[in-house]
């Protein structure tokens, strides 16, 4: 019990308490801009949540996510007519998972070269391909009774390929093996988020949420998918992309922040850069 209390207290330092409202505001403002103003078929409303989760831990992450959606819904001015409130559950799960990624040190920059760069990147790309293949082989997609349009599989392959290539390029150009793990974490978070969201969207809103993603839902229904499966299909298309992009944004922010800033957060020791000389004790520092 005492251990649990200390675990909780360690995650909520003053710095984290200050960070949470900033993160909530970032979520709401960017999400509102992307969903309601730009009408893109992604969300970008969890940058703050994932940021807090991976610098502070699962609980602050989850609370940031839940509060973001609730405050967004009830905030005078922008909340009216948005459908975000009930998805607080999803946001909480995303933040909690980000905390776990933070504990695992996923968001740490890992400057590397040679094999140390290629092996993690290859593993990560393999995992992305595996996830895409897993989605590809979901029986509902190929079952004509479920009636997904025929382009769903093409879209999945396209997204999988694009994601793999982007990760490979990112890892190669920045010489940073960390990007590979970030991509995997983002994709896994996205799949979980889609699975959590679909029943909410289906039960509460009849499957459509008034955002840019409705286009995909409509297309899937046109193909004959039922309410729940259309929402799930839309989620499985949008969420992994969205969370991977979001995770990369967070990763870039953390890579851009000073070690001094990061080290003061509860999980700071798992975020600060591993120096190339430590990572490659063979001395292959590649001239940086």
């Amino acid at each position: 019990m005492d251990l649990l209390q200390r675990w909780v207290a360690r995650q909520f330092t003053t710095r984290v308490i200050v960070m949470m409202p900033v993160a909530i505001a970032i979520n709401i403002v960017l999400g509102y801009t992307v969903q309601s103003v730009l009408k893109l078929p992604i969300y970008v409303d969890s940058i703050g949540t994932i940021l807090v989760g991976c610098v502070a831990g699962p609980l602050p992450g989850a609370i940031t996510g839940i509060l973001s959606n609730l405050i967004w819904q009830y905030a005078p001015g922008i909340g009216a007519g948005s459908s975000i409130g009930p998805f607080a559950v999803t946001a909480g799960v995303i933040g909690f998972m980000a905390g776990i990624w933070g504990y695992l040190g996923v968001f740490r920059s890992r400057p590397a070269s040679g094999l140390r760069l290629i092996v993690p990147a290859a593993i990560a790309i393999a995992i992305i391909v595996l996830l895409a293949a897993r989605m590809y082989t979901i029986p509902q997609y190929s079952d004509p009774g479920m009636g997904y349009p025929s382009w769903v599989n093409v879209a999945i392959i396209g997204i999988g390929a694009a994601a793999s290539i982007s990760v490979a390029l990112f890892v190669y150009l920045r010489r940073d093996a960390g990007g590979a793990w970030v991509a995997v974490a983002g994709a896994v978070t996205g799949i979980v988020a889609a699975i959590v969201s679909a029943p909410i969207a289906a039960v509460v809103y009849g499957g459509v949420t008034g955002a840019g993603t409705d286009v995909i839902v409509a297309a899937l229904r046109q193909g004959g998918a039922d309410v729940y499966n259309a929402s799930l299909g839309q989620g499985l298309l949008s969420d992994p992309i969205d969370k991977t992009i979001t995770s990369f944004v967070v990763f870039l922010i953390l890579a851009g922040a000073s070690s001094r800033f990061l080290a003061r957060f509860p999980l700071g020791d798992r975020l600060v850069r591993v120096e190339a000389s430590d990572a490659n004790d063979a001395g292959a520092t590649d001239g940086n």
Binding site: I17, V22, A25, P86, I253
Partner: protein, 279 residues
């Protein structure tokens, strides 16, 4: 901690409550709905959400809508809720169109319009979802329009929310408009140097990066300063703050809160888990 330390129930606060702070310090709202304690209003909003979303069919949302509208009428904010009703239009339009025209598995066609065939099942589902969305949207609007955030936070802190929770919620609400303002400035600045925010999907997508970067780094730069400021003001000191401002509450309201909350949960459980079906 000395025993004389004033707490919510101690004489010091009771006196302040009794004396009623002068109106230029704090205007106590009047009227049957407005005079309710902020926590009661919050409970009403939560119960409205539970009922509107949890009780399926027409009954739940309809009851919520009627109660919310009559509360709004009593509080005199019915007219100010019009913009909120307008704001739900895109969502409502999307729900109506997608469900009416593309309801999977429905064959009771209303009419044939070229390649489209709207169905009764779809239309019914769409109208029910619309009713839910509107009822919930109105309850959120009523709460937002009649409850000053400060009052709610003060009340929650008195009931043991803790100053950290109060700070996070209060500060986040304040940070939203200022961040929105910053995002607008950044967008204007980027547009001035040629960023495209209109046009095709890819073009809008590319507009994201120069928007997100400056907004994020600007916001994070403040974290360090605010942390210092809070630490310097004994934010982490042990013990509870004494809150002088007390808002009226009553035993009846407390009972009503519990009754409403438990009642709404029971209603949801009954309609979901038993054969009882409301229209």
């Amino acid at each position: 901690m000395t025993p004389e330390r004033p707490t919510a129930t101690s004489p010091v606060v009771a006196e302040a409550e009794e004396a009623h702070l002068p109106e230029f310090v704090r205007r106590i709202p009047v009227g049957p709905y407005r005079a309710l304690n902020p926590v009661t209003k919050a409970t009403l909003a939560v119960v409205a959400a539970i009922l509107a979303f949890g009780v399926r069919g027409w009954t739940g949302p309809a009851v919520v809508l009627v109660v919310v509208v009559s509360c709004a009428w009593t509080a005199g904010v019915l007219r100010r809720m019009a913009p909120f009703a307008l704001a739900t239009l895109p969502l409502v339009a999307s729900i109506l169109v997608v469900n009416t025209f593309l309801y999977p598995g429905a064959h009771d066609t209303i009419a044939k319009l070229g390649p489209l065939s709207p169905t009764w099942t779809g239309a019914t589902t769409a109208l029910q979802a619309t009713l839910r969305v509107v009822a919930f949207g109105f309850s959120a609007a009523l709460f937002a329009l009649t409850t000053p955030v400060d009052d709610l936070l003060v009340e929650l802190e008195r009931r043991g929310l803790g100053r950290r929770g109060a700070f996070v919620v209060g500060s986040a609400l304040g940070a939203v408009p200022s961040t929105l303002e910053r995002a607008r400035e950044v967008a204007d600045a980027q547009r001035a140097r040629g960023m495209e925010t209109e046009g095709g999907l890819w073009r809008r997508f590319r507009g994201l990066v120069p928007l997100i970067g400056p907004v994020l780094f600007g916001a994070l730069a403040e974290v360090e300063e605010r942390t210092m400021a809070l630490e310097a003001r004994a934010f982490t000191a042990p013990g509870r703050r004494t809150i002088l401002r007390a808002l009226p509450d009553s035993g009846r309201q407390r009972a009503a809160r519990w009754l409403l909350f438990v009642g709404s949960v029971v209603a949801v459980v009954v309609t979901l888990a038993t054969p009882v079906r409301l229209p």
